[in-house]
């Protein structure tokens, strides 16, 4: 699971442009209510809307992240791809993994994985999906350029048989591989088409050939991407004939276009516009779904005071999470105890083991005295300001930065804020020199397929084991051993037990200080229904059942 990297960049960049004007534009909409926003109980979150019954000619959908760079599933994650390119497995709205283009995809021994391709599945051009296409698609992820590379790193070879079976051989067992098949890592593309188009695959010029419920119709760069229903889709044709994806990165524009009914729906709408979205004269409704998204901040160097867990624990003790959720998320989020979001294992086999361990973790609380003690104990030089990098222009992040800054002040620390433009901020993640002079970086991310190891492997393992974001040089032998054991375990229970034993140690060390879990926010026209509204939108064909109420 390398997905975090890219997602962190994209989400940050999108927020940067999406939310600046939101508050200004929405102010006049509803009655004034100065009390804190109403919190939504996690049990009332909606994973999907009832399936539609009426056909619809055309739906206009806003992509708040802006125009995608490519529709190639191996190098991009966006909300358009899952409707175009079906994966071997499907992530259901409740975050369980079900069969997709693969009728079966299972480990047949600890280092051998067998995929049986479903019969009668065709690409948009009518050619059948074969084992060769599947092998070709999987091979595309066996290069570091793919965002799914980590889950494919232990593969030694991929072979096909004429009867529609693909056998994947591994150098060591890897529990993360099957989960990746539910996302873009398992997306199936036509080999013949890919060979013809070459490097342009997925771009506006090259196009795509997949087997999803919608087929790419027209991509006018800078204007829109339109897709039309695939009448021969293996899992039943969609009800909506055509979807026009338009790119609206400005929060105010998005909010007014949605509430005025000019755009039918959008995911990841800004929480800052909650009042406008919930106003009675709007053309649609705001839906909160479960998500794996969270806001957090973490250390960027090994020789900063931020590398000391006590400093991070102290900051965590100084931040009031409910104020944070009210201010930044307008109540549309929940307290999250540790870096691994609960929804990510909610559909997994050993979910009880994960849940019990999560319940046993302490909830974050405010205790300024304990925080000050921790700072004193750490012996850091409190006269040196700590620098916190955030993406510029995003309201959520400027609020996050001020909250961290004022909490730090309460316990005698000085935090200075370093706002960076999107490209500059994104580059921080893999250009070490750019992190010079920075102590913390605040970010947001989500995981789009089930699996608990996505974040821990990146943040807790030593760099040589894949800890690419382990900038503070965290190295705990027990954590490393447990996480490796969880990855290579051959059964779900052993994997879960190894993971929770690692979590017991790494959670209190707060390699990322988790500030809040954010809900998946969707705004949809009152006339429409049938879509997925959980974070599964990144991996499942969410528009398949979209149509009239």
């Amino acid at each position: 699971m390398t997905r975090t990297t890219r997602r962190r960049f994209t989400v940050a960049a999108a927020l940067a442009t999406a939310t600046v004007l939101a508050a200004t534009a929405c102010a006049p909409r509803t009655g004034t209510n100065d009390s804190s926003p109403e919190e939504i109980d996690a049990s009332s979150l909606v994973t999907s809307l009832p399936a539609a019954t009426t056909a619809v000619d055309e739906v206009t959908w806003a992509v708040v992240e802006g125009e995608p760079q490519t529709l190639d599933p191996s190098s991009s994650a966006n909300i358009i791809i899952p409707n175009l390119c079906d994966s071997l497995l499907t992530v259901e709205p409740g975050f369980t993994l079900e069969a997709g283009i693969a009728e079966k995809a299972e480990w047949i021994d600890p280092v051998t994985f067998e995929i049986t391709v479903r019969d009668g599945v065709s690409f948009w051009d009518g050619t059948p999906v074969t084992a060769a296409d599947v092998a070709y698609s999987l091979e595309r992820n066996r290069t570091p350029a793919s965002q799914w590379y980590a889950a494919f790193a232990l593969i030694s070879s991929i072979e096909t048989s004429s009867d529609g079976t693909v056998i994947v051989h591994f150098t060591a067992p890897d529990t993360t591989f099957r989960d990746a098949l539910g996302g873009g890592g398992g997306a199936v593309m036509s080999k013949a088409f890919g060979d013809t188009v070459g490097a342009d695959l997925g771009t506006s010029g090259g196009g795509l050939m997949c087997a999803g419920p919608y087929q790419l119709d027209d991509w006018k760069p800078g204007t829109e991407i339109s897709v039309t229903a695939n009448p021969d889709y293996w899992n039943g044709a969609p009800l909506t004939e055509r979807i026009r994806f338009v790119f609206v990165t400005d929060g105010a524009t998005l909010t007014s276009a949605l509430t005025a009914g000019e755009i039918d729906g959008a995911f990841n709408v800004p929480p800052g516009s909650r009042q406008s979205f919930e106003a009675e004269d709007g053309e649609g409704r705001l839906i909160s779904g479960p998500s794996t998204a969270s806001y957090s901040f973490g250390p960027t160097s090994a020789d900063s005071a931020a590398a000391d867990p006590r400093v991070r624990q102290a900051l965590s003790l100084a931040i009031d999470r409910s104020t944070y959720i009210d201010t930044v998320l307008q109540g549309l989020g929940q307290v999250q105890k540790t870096i691994v979001p609960p929804f990510v294992w909610s559909g997994m086999e050993a979910k009880d083991t994960y849940q019990d361990a999560y319940d046993a973790l302490p909830s974050p609380e405010v205790d300024l005295d304990a925080a000050k003690d921790l700072i004193a104990e750490s012996g850091i030089d409190t006269s040196t300001p700590l620098v916190l990098a955030v993406p510029a222009g995003a309201k959520e992040f400027s609020q996050t930065a001020s909250i961290i800054q004022s909490a730090a002040k309460d316990i005698g620390l000085t935090v200075t804020i370093d706002e960076r433009q999107p490209a500059d901020f994104g580059a921080l993640f893999y250009t070490p020199e750019l992190r010079d002079g920075i102590d913390f970086v605040a970010t947001t991310g989500y995981l789009e397929v089930p699996g608990v190891l996505g974040y821990p492997q990146l943040f807790m393992l030593p760099a040589e084991f894949g800890g690419i974001f382990n900038w503070s040089g965290y190295a705990n032998d027990e954590v490393t051993a447990d996480l490796q054991a969880a990855r290579t375990a051959t059964d779900a229970t052993t994997a879960a037990e190894a993971f929770v034993s690692a979590q017991e140690i790494f959670a209190p060390d707060q390699l990322q200080v988790t500030l809040a879990g954010a809900y998946q926010l969707t705004y949809l026209s009152d006339d429409l229904t049938g879509i997925t509204t959980s974070v599964a939108i990144y991996s499942s064909p969410w528009a398949l059942r979209l149509g009239g109420e």
């Binding site: 190098s75 338009v246 609206v248 000019e262």
Partner: protein, 311 residues
């Protein structure tokens, strides 16, 4: 005329050098855009740098780029991986139409109110002066938000978003963006027009003409407006050329997807080939439109334009 063209070419050349080198000096690494969000390993970064010649010396990169531009190859977008020419071309139409409509608004209301203020009653002058002060003080994005709120969201007369389909629908979609973009410039042109006309009205030859009993209408056309026109035209030329860049804000607020918003997005994503070409295009437009304004001014009043010496 040839000298003029030479000047244009020189300006463009200098602009291209400045644009190219300035971009390389700004913070942020183009590899971010090129990697497209994948986790780049050192090998991948090296491959990308080699493919896009990022390790070449700046002058060599510049020459390579210039060679491409001269032969019509504007390069490929780092972010979209498509030809820049195609990307810019697709977006230019919307911006051009927006600027055209805005220009019409500015011409009618800016010139109109300026003339009114100059020749009307004291009261009219006051009203125009107060209104234009207000107009100049309102930033485009504030006007855009207000217009959307009043005319799109509340009254529902205009769409809040997008450029619509070609034709009347497009015009309808462009009204609010054009008004929000035009307001500040209307105020500006109004003031320029008024002061240029007032200066002429108080000039000696106008006084003389009036004393000699020449009809007022004729004095105004032949002397006042005729003499003030070159100045107004020169300023208008700059203004209209500037609209192409200023349109970014209106395009962003109304989700129009023109070259202005392309430029801001490309700059944020460090998409160098796009930023270079769009910047150069804007400079070229600026220079050419100014030259046209110059020529027009000279055509109206050959004496006032020193630029036509060699024509």
């Amino acid at each position: 005329m040839l000298g003029k063209l030479g000047g244009l070419a020189l300006t463009l050349f200098l602009a291209s050098v400045i644009i190219f080198s300035a971009l390389l000096l700004t913070p942020g690494d183009p590899v971010t855009a090129l990697a497209g969000g994948a986790r780049p390993t050192p090998e991948l970064i090296a491959a990308i740098r080699a493919e896009y010649r990022l390790d070449d010396p700046v002058w060599l990169q510049y020459l390579h780029w210039l060679g491409g531009v001269v032969t019509g190859d504007f390069g490929r977008s780092f972010v979209y991986k498509t030809d820049v020419a195609e990307l810019v071309g697709a977006r230019f139409a919307v911006t051009f139409q927006l600027v055209l409509l805005t220009t019409a608004l500015i011409a009618v209301f800016g010139l109109g109110s300026g003339i009114l203020a100059a020749i009307g009653s004291r009261r009219t002058d006051m009203v125009v002066s107060v209104t234009t002060s207000l107009g100049m003080a309102l930033p485009t994005f504030i006007v855009a938000i207000l217009l959307i709120w009043i005319f799109a969201t509340s009254l529902g007369w205009f769409p809040t978003f997008g450029a619509g389909e070609e034709g009347l629908d497009r015009l309808w979609h462009l009204v609010l963006p054009a008004v929000s973009l035009a307001l500040m410039f209307i105020a500006y042109i109004s003031r320029v027009t008024r002061s240029a006309l007032v200066a002429q009205l108080h000039s000696e030859h106008v006084e003389t003409a009036r004393v000699r009993g020449i009809p007022w209408g004729r004095v105004f056309r032949r002397h006042v407006f005729h003499n003030a026109a070159p100045q107004i035209l020169a300023i208008s030329g700059t203004t209209i050329a500037g609209l192409f860049a200023a349109s970014a804000i209106a395009e962003q607020a109304f989700g129009l997807g023109g070259v202005g918003s392309l430029l801001t997005e490309a700059a944020a994503r460090k998409d160098l080939p796009v930023v270079q070409v769009v910047s150069l295009l804007l400079v070229a437009l600026f220079v050419v439109l100014n030259a046209i304004a110059d020529l027009l001014a000279a055509a109206i009043d050959p004496d006032s334009a020193g630029t036509r010496r060699n024509a």
